[in-house]
Subunit: 331 residues, 2 copies
């Protein structure tokens, strides 16, 4: 394997995008110019081999892509513009080649390029067993325009930005049949949703720029979990109408029982769930439509205990914060 | 073990320090107000059990303390004021108790309090074998005042900010005799240097505020390695005078051969090495003295290939970039 110095040299970006960057990789820390007109946004997310991905479900490119995508999705949920990222990677002494490591960075790089994000730091260490990748991302949002989970109020409408459950269905296929099965087009779409999720940055920006009071959360752990987070942060009851949830064509091939589980509790779709005052709905809907973005009303907010109620076929049930536990149930 | 929600609740700070903070832990990402008068500084550092620490050399409190200290040291080396930090921790399913995890956070918290840093995010995941802790820190420095490794020029003096080799000597003791040996006072001082290093933030600030052209680097991998980084970044030759290096009383008890190895190649002292124009030395020295900070001239910069020359007892030798490889040589 290359030495650490050689590896670091190989990942230093040849080109940078952000005009605020002063110094990237190569000194004790990275520097970029502050800007009083913005709020800086920062978060991190860690993926562990065997817990969040397996070599039998994700190629190295997907691992890198998804590690960055999950973080960008959190920026999107604040209404932020992505700017920078840093990567900590712990590489097992055996089982990962230099080429595979390069592919992980290529996966991140392809997404970073799309969003003009600069890689400005990181750390590479060795570990005995599983690969661990921890990505820190930064972004910025105009002062006061951030979109918090706590912004929901009685009477607001609840919306989502796209179909749910595809990533979980794709994972199911990969766990059953592996990476190299001859999948049909519809199955390929589900697998794509799992391996190469599309963070909703454009939508987050439309919502931030609308200047409307909007609560927003990204659906990383399933809509049941994320709707509960909005309910708790805003101290309101969220009512979700099952029949209004968006479903992809590919998922229509499966029985409703499976679909419901994936749509409500399946994680990593990285769509957004949010709330908007009823009076602003038409304007927000128009702004999304104009930009070619999907937005679908799927319920409403009412006064009451912080909880989530699911309406389905004239029945109501409490929707618990049951997240998606990755491989916990499959193994 | 507590569930993740309970754990996150337990680490949310009861009190915050930074006036620029808008939202800390609890939403998709943290938010803080930008400031056009400053440059934002960011870096991360990862420690892996068995590579960077062992349970036989570090108590959980020390692990947390040192993980944050190593990062703060990088901020110090840019002349920055620490502000925020985020923590990614991968916890093995066996071998770490809730109490030990709490102690890791207490270790970080004790240092964060000293520097008025707010914990604003993180991620907690499980892993099969070794604990991995990755800390991202942020700080800020007045626009244009940052201190880079590339600032050294022909004729500058080279300085360090304190004694070297103590941490490596302390590690040697711990590996040989363990945590619970009845150490004498002098040995305890070396062990303290290893377990609870003191990042040189105050010194970094004095140097940044001096407005002098200063190159600066923190000594995390041994002065041989760090002096070479300055030589490479500035494209100059660094001359170090061995007899001028600072040595602690505790280290005087060891034979010169061991001392030399620890002082030149021992890592994790977290002192600073820097350069300053000769004409500014007196002023910088006075500013440090006035603040009770140690600064010691230990060599000079001359034109030439990027390399480091060590002068000792009228001999000169090339000092290679041989870093401190943690436990690699001991195991």
């Amino acid at each position: 394997m290359r030495d650490e110095f050689g590896f670091i040299q190989s990942i230093i970006p040849k080109k940078t995008y952000q005009p605020s960057l002063v110094t990237g990789i190569g000194d004790d820390a990275a520097l970029f110019r502050g800007n009083s007109e913005y709020e800086e946004v920062i978060c991190l997310d860690t993926m562990v081999q065997g817990i969040h991905f397996k070599k039998s479900t994700m190629k190295p490119f997907h691992v890198g892509y998804k590690a960055l995508a999950a973080n960008i999705s959190d920026l999107a949920a604040m209404g932020a513009i992505p700017t920078y990222y840093l990567v900590s990677i712990a590489v097992p002494k055996k089982g990962w080649t230099d080429t595979e490591l390069d592919e992980i960075y290529q996966g991140m790089n392809s997404l970073a390029k799309e969003y003009k994000m600069d890689l400005i730091g990181g750390d590479t260490v060795s570990i005995s067993s599983e690969l661990v990748i921890s990505v820190t991302v930064m972004g910025r949002v105009e002062k006061g325009r951030h979109l918090l989970r706590s912004h929901a109020k009685d009477g607001d409408l609840v919306f989502i930005t796209g179909p749910l459950g595809d990533s979980a269905a794709g994972l199911g296929l990969l766990l059953e049949k592996g990476l190299n099965h001859p999948y049909n087009e519809s199955e390929k779409a589900l697998i794509h949703a799992h391996q190469l999720p599309d963070p909703q940055v454009k939508m987050g920006r439309i919502l931030a720029e609308s200047k409307v009071r909007i609560a927003l959360n990204d659906i990383s752990d399933g809509i049941a979990s994320e709707a509960n987070e909005i309910a708790e942060a805003s101290q309101v009851t969220v009512v979700l109408q099952y029949d209004k949830l968006l479903i992809s064509k590919a998922l229509l091939n499966y029985p409703d029982e499976k679909r419901e589980k994936w749509m409500l509790f399946g994680g990593e779709d990285f769509q957004l769930i949010g709330t908007v005052p009823k009076s602003e709905w038409a304007a927000v809907f128009e702004a999304c439509k104009k930009s070619g973005q999907t937005i679908q009303e799927v319920g409403y907010i009412k006064k009451g205990e912080p909880k989530v109620i699911l309406q389905k076929e004239n029945h109501e049930k409490l929707l618990a914060k049951e997240g998606f536990n990755h491989f916990r149930t499959e193994e």
